[in-house]
């Protein structure tokens, strides 16, 4: 048995050693191509649905068309259809995907339909065509169980107001009435979907020892394993999940989804492998969406634009039985200074499909609405919105006085403005044919988090292997973990093999909440540091005096190949990060500034984004190329939020009306200009020993506001109900005459 030692870090204090700055390989931080790139572009990377174990049967979920108690079905008739093997109506089936990091089963079927679209059965057949046909022929009898509410703003909705989510500091009302300028406006953001390109898919296979292997498409494997074990009532060590490639997540694959449970139950019942792939429409309905929000924002300032009061009261929706609620004001707590503050959070329990975390839960919609409000107040005060923001940068957490781990709000605003060539002009000044042209800006902010993570590094004379159950959902995990190991142990990246997405490997953080890169990279860093210590000890030098580069150990003017030091040995080390006080003693966050130029048609009300530029600060940038791509993604999500995306729910039964990619409008290629992305490189010592923070969500948090603010600057129309659909803009244009 090869010796494996562990290096642990309870992250309580800032790391000022900045050891990575002293490494010699020169790989980390570069825009290295993704190592898995050739597999992805040649179609050889295999996703969840793409294995074909022998004798695999095909399952297809059956959808409830109304709400109530399940009293029966035509399952017997379905079983007689061509190719049908079995109809699964197991009470353990789950009604919707689990919430992120739940680690336990979500609400199970138990004879109850909670929302229209809930999966209520799974038809298993020899072929996909047979399973689909039979599933569509299946009728489940559902007895109505009373009247329900489908709109959070319906006065009949049951509304919760959790005490710990309310804040009242100072005297907001007094500040509002004493202020030179004030704003009291209400904004709406729509119900939205992650809409990752790969539909959820699972292939379940039980072996003779009762161990389930599930090939799935998930973000947080250690939690998903616990969720699946809990649903099935088996020990967690009887479940193995494989997700080497994940075709996008954005929150939708944080929690175990109904197809995995159906596949596992069916495979167990039939004694053969079963595949269940969600139809695109089932993805929309059964996987958690982003709640619609109503946000009342009150702001007050003096003649110089200094904020004296901030109020942000929001209403979100959720299905009964779910603990998550969209944390709309998460960024508002600390983004701007003001002595008088009210934050309110209400949750309406309604019968729309379950809500959950979608990319940048909270700030994506909260910062967006707030940054529109700031623009409105700056306009009232007659102050350049850039200057207005600069006058209200907090020097510490405005509510609790804690310091910021690093505060780059001002720097990103100034640098972003310079790069964009920002000048503030009044509305309705530029016209090109039918098009009004205008510019807008917004700040971006997102909390930074770390979660527990483990990873293994295996060193040989020829290179390194990194192993953990981390996922790469497009974020660049394969690239950055390769880079961290290459940098720490002094190998070219092609000598590093990174193996991910298997719960038999050490449990990493998983991907979500922008915590993945920093948390799991830290675990890899720790494992590599352990190996550096062992190398140093063997060579009789102190670790900081050891330079590792290109497979050589360099110390005291001597060069020794690692191949010579290790011979045929394989050295293994585990890194184990545990978050500690560093996350509580300071406010850690990432900051940015987004600038946009739009054209608004005076004829149709259509908005086109012509130019968009984002400047972001998120600590050390681990890979310039993948970080930039993450920001392209977030900025594009901002365009979608501002202009096109909205899930429409039928007011009669809450069902999703436009639950496909033809009617739920993601931004397409022509909707997105060649986005500009710039990073302010910094070292946040409080974040972790890498001084790196999350970058995956920051750019979503404000981009939409820059577009909405640019629309107002272009044509004078202020949109407060997102997205800025043509009818709303046209009404505004007509009202202006």
């Amino acid at each position: 048995m090869t010796l494996e030692t562990t290096r642990r870090l309870k992250h309580d204090t800032p790391d000022t050693d900045r050891r990575l700055d002293g490494m010699a390989q020169g790989v980390l931080g570069t825009g290295m191509d993704r190592p898995e790139g050739p597999l992805k572009v040649s179609g050889r990377a295999t996703y969840a649905a793409e294995a074909h174990p022998e004798a695999m049967a095909e399952g297809y979920l059956v959808r409830a068309t109304t709400i109530g108690r399940i009293t029966g079905s035509n399952a017997d008739a379905i079983r007689a259809m061509p190719g049908v093997i079995e109809v699964i109506e197991d009470e353990r089936m789950i009604r919707n995907a689990a919430q992120g990091m739940a680690g336990e089963s979500p609400v199970q079927r138990q004879g109850q339909v909670w929302y229209v679209g809930q999966p209520v059965a799974c038809v298993v057949a020899e072929s996909f065509e047979q399973a689909r046909h039979a599933a569509q022929a299946m009728m489940v009898t559902i007895e109505p169980d009373g009247t329900h509410v489908f709109d959070a703003e319906d006065p009949a909705a049951e509304v919760e107001k959790p005490e710990q989510k309310q804040l009242d500091q100072g005297d907001l009302e007094g500040a509002m009435s004493a202020a030179t300028f004030s704003l009291d406006a209400t904004y709406h953001t729509p119900s939205m979907s992650s809409a990752a390109m790969e539909p959820h898919a699972s292939i379940a296979q039980w072996d003779e020892d009762g161990v389930l292997t599930l090939r799935g498409s998930y973000q947080l494997l250690k939690f998903n394993k616990a969720e699946l074990a809990d649903v099935l009532g088996v020990a967690p060590d009887k479940v193995r999940i494989l997700s080497p490639y994940v075709g996008g997540g954005f929150g939708s694959k944080l929690g175990l989804a109904p197809e995995a449970v159906a596949a596992a139950l069916a495979a167990q019942a039939l004694g053969r492998p079963v595949r269940v792939v969600l139809h695109r429409r089932q993805v929309f309905e059964t996987v958690t969406r982003r709640s619609e929000t109503r946000q009342r924002i009150r702001l007050a300032c003096d003649a110089e634009g200094k904020l004296s009061a901030i109020g942000h009261e929001n209403l979100v929706s959720q299905l009964p039985g779910e603990v998550f609620s969209e944390p709309v004001a998460q960024g508002t707590h600390f983004q701007y200074a003001a002595p008088n503050r009210v934050i309110g959070h209400e949750i309406a329990r309604i019968r729309r499909p379950a809500a959950g975390s979608v990319r940048a839960p909270g700030e994506a919609v909260g910062v967006t609405a707030f940054e529109i409000a700031i623009d409105e107040l700056a306009k009232k005060a007659g102050i350049d919105p850039l200057e207005f923001r600069l006058r209200n940068v907090p020097d510490k957490h405005p509510e609790n006085g804690k310091p910021f781990s690093s505060s780059t709000m001002e720097a990103t605003l100034r640098e972003g403005a310079k790069r964009f060539g920002w000048t503030h002009t009044p509305p309705r000044q530029r016209r090109e044919g039918e098009w009004w042209i205008g510019t807008g800006m917004a700040g971006a902010v997102r909390v930074n988090m770390m979660i527990e993570a483990m990873a293994r590094a295996v060193l040989t004379g020829q290179g390194v292997r990194v192993e953990c159950d981390m996922t790469d959902i497009g974020t660049g995990s394969y690239a950055i973990l390769t880079q961290v190991a290459a940098e720490m142990l002094g190998f070219a990246p092609d000598r590093v093999e990174t193996v991910l997405g298997d719960t038999d490997l050490p449990p990493a953080s998983g991907s979500g909440g922008s915590f993945g890169a920093a948390s799991t990279s830290t675990a890899v860093y720790l494992a590599c540091m352990e190996l550096r210590e062992r190398l140093a000890a063997k060579l009789g030098v102190k670790e900081p005096e050891l330079t590792l580069k290109d497979g050589l150990a360099i110390h005291e003017n001597r060069q020794t190949p690692l191949a010579e030091i290790l011979g045929e040995e394989e050295w293994r080390a585990l890194g184990h990060l545990q978050p500690g006080k560093a996350g509580q003693e300071v406010r850690q966050a990432t900051w940015g500034a987004i600038f946009a130029e739009v054209a608004v048609s005076d004829v149709t009300g259509e908005t086109r984004v012509r130019r968009m530029d984002g400047t972001f600060a998120a600590g050390r940038i681990l890979n310039l190329k993948t970080a930039r791509s993450q920001c392209h993604g977030g900025m594009t999500w901002g365009i979608g939020l501002a202009l096109t995306e909205a899930m429409e729910h039928d007011p009669r039964d809450g069902h999703m009306v436009n639950r496909d990619l033809a009617e739920y409008h993601l931004p397409v290629n022509l909707d997105v200009p060649q986005l500009g992305v710039h990073f302010l490189e910094e070292r946040d010592d409080w974040a972790n020993p890498l001084q790196a923070k999350g970058i995956g969500e920051l750019s979503v948090c404000g981009s939409g506001a820059a577009v909405i603010n640019a629309i107002e600057n272009a044509c004078g129309v202020r949109v407060r109900r997102l997205p800025a659909t043509l009818d709303q803009v046209m009404d505004g244009l007509i009202a202006q005459g």
Binding site: D33, E36, G43, S629, L661, P667, L670, V672
Partner: protein
Amino acid sequence: MQFQLDVNGERHALDLDTRTSLLDALRDHLGLTGSKKGCDHGQCGACTVMVNGRRINSCLTLACMHEGDEITTIEGLGRPDDLSPLQRAFVEHDGYQCGYCTPGQICSATAMIEEIKAGWPSNVTDDLEAQVEASIEEISERMSGNLCRCSCYPGIVDAIRQVAREEARA
């Protein structure tokens, strides 16, 4: 139903349900899982393949309709150790993240470059008589049938522009 499919220069004998889409035939019966299923309704473009040189959504056509056609999938364009110029450019410009829409993007772009060469106009072409340029706007318009939720459109456009320029020079 028994029929034959010619895929990436190889002939395959198949016996499939007539309802089997070309996409499912490729993915589930020929082991060519590079073509992706994102919506199964021609809305996302992830399943794009080339049939007789033209790009189509393989989810919107039945496999048994394609006997005698020359079908090219992502696997036929290049291998990990021998990538096509567009595949290389997608890696270089990070024109992908999760990679799921990527084979469709690349198949689509491969055929689209030929459409531009052939002088086909698009919705954003001003002069229908002039030779079409592989401009950012032309590429963006012509690639708008291929959704990317990771939103790698800037990298996708850069990759395609680079290859279109190289091919125009050659």
